[in-house]
Amino acid sequence: MKCHEIKYLLADFIDGDLEPDTQSMIQDHLSACEECREEYAFLQAYKKEIISLPAVAAPANFLTDLHKRLDEPSLAEKIRHTLFFPLKLKLPLEAVGVAVLAAITILIFNPFEMGRQMTFQPESASYDSDIAYYAPEKEKSMKRTEARKESKLSTASKTRLADSRKRGAATGAVIERKTIDKSSGGYAKKDRGKAMPAYGESAPDEIEDRTLSDETIAQDDSLYSSKAIEGERDKESSKRMASKKAAPAAAKNNYAGKGAIAEFEEIKAEPAAPEVYEIVLMLTPETDKFALANKSKSKASYSQKLPHEYYAKNEMKKSDSVDMKQKYIAQKRSGRKLSKESKPMPVSIKKSLAQIKSIAGSLNGRIIKRKFRSGSSTEQYIVLEIPAKNYHILVNRLNSTGSVKKLYRKKPVLRSKQKVNLKINLSY
């Protein structure tokens, strides 16, 4: 046997737990191997010392302490006892505590009110603009409904509304009849279906009616004057129920019902004066080249009147473009106003967009978003943010460029920040 095998068995050899043959084999090895003899000596001393290690006496009150611990209730028992006993006292207190917590949670988070607010969100894009522009009779019913609702406003609210109208009339902006267009792609969606009557699409005369001329403003003002409201009230008292049903019904027919109902419910609330509009300009090119007349530096060129003289019944011929361009450049250099006969000159699309941006900048506005046509570097949408009071001026200035063929406008619902969609067809 080798030394490591002997060492492995030495402890049992000392204890006498080995078979006689193994014992004698180890004995013979020990007589010959000094290293194993040293190991044997150590193990002997070790065994002697370790067995003689004195025992330790347990504490005298070991059993008493053990019983104390056995009689102690477990943690679960302690918790149960603390929470529920005495029953008569603790259960009512705990019920009250739970009710108070629930009430606080409801007050803080208001889950019911949140749900109600969400239903106000119209599912589709702006709808009342469709009412306004699809059919005049529907617009009338909307006007009647608004008049009826405004009659229910408090005196202070009416005064505030009248003031805002006056301010709006001064700057050329009508602000109380605007709706929010939630989707920037609203135009795209609407264009897919049956085309909505475009703003000024059919004839220049219609454009005149729809654009924010003084006549239009005056008409709106008259509608919301106190006399008009009273007159409306008298005339429409018998037809209120019918109009009430008709207007939301009409809305429902055209859109998701929730949006229409939400719009009417929103009117009930006292409208807050809008501060900023978001204008979404959708550029729809008819040709590859866009024409946008250079912005005149003269203030006089931005009159409140719509430069309807720029819209001609007869469309500009392409063959005239070169002559027209030369004439236009000459006029600009001379500083003269664009006359009735002057027509827009073709310029690059970049310049056109730069002009739009400069117009927005001059009205304390800014571009907040841009979307490009797929596969090209040409912009399709530009989202502008301008103060509400400058909205009318922006529309006028865009019109005054002379190249805006179509201008769509959506009416936002009164909110602190309304989004207005303007679709601009820049024509050559």
């Binding site: 060492k7 492995y8 402890a11 190991e39 150590f42 193990l43 001393a45 070790y46 065994k47 010392e49 370790i50 067995i51 290690l53 004195p54 025992a55 330790v56 006496a57 347990a58 504490p59 070991f62 059993l63 302490d65 053990l66 611990r69 056995l70």
Partner: protein
Amino acid sequence: MKLQESQLEDERLIQSFQSNNSDAFDKLVQKHTNMVFNLCYRLMGDYDEANDCAQDTFIKVYHNLDRFKFKSNFSTWLYRIAVNTCKNKLSSLSSRVKKKTLRLDNRNDEDFNRLSDIEDSTFNPEEIFEKKEKEGIIRGAINALPPNQKTLIVLRDIEGKSYDEIAKITGYKPGTVKSKLARARQSLRDRLKGVL
């Protein structure tokens, strides 16, 4: 014979306890207190820790004695519970931190005083002091072993248990017990050079 009588007495007490005789449990505790306490003391190396472990061991016995089916000796079962209780406590974080801060030659004075209460026939102060010094070093060396090796050393070399019994208590195979014991003794030899 003594061993067999002891085992028969244990079985009788257990059956009495299972028949709802609470006094039987007290008698079992009194019979095995010192054995369990010393085992815990040798494994933990600290008197108070040993007291806690011994108490925990008997609490576990109390809650599980109804399910004891006499497949093994009660003492083997009791040893197994005590060893596992001490092992769990040793492997707990607080115990490991405590052990790291304890030096090998640093005796617990309270333990030293308790040891001195044991009667000794030789009234030679120097011899007694040297003896206690040596015992402290040996205890320290055993305490410094890894828990598995320490358990085997205590069960085999101090308690005198057989390899089969140690295998039942620890759950190792007998061959594994022998090889681990040989390794533990080799470690002790290295630590106790010059002392023994």
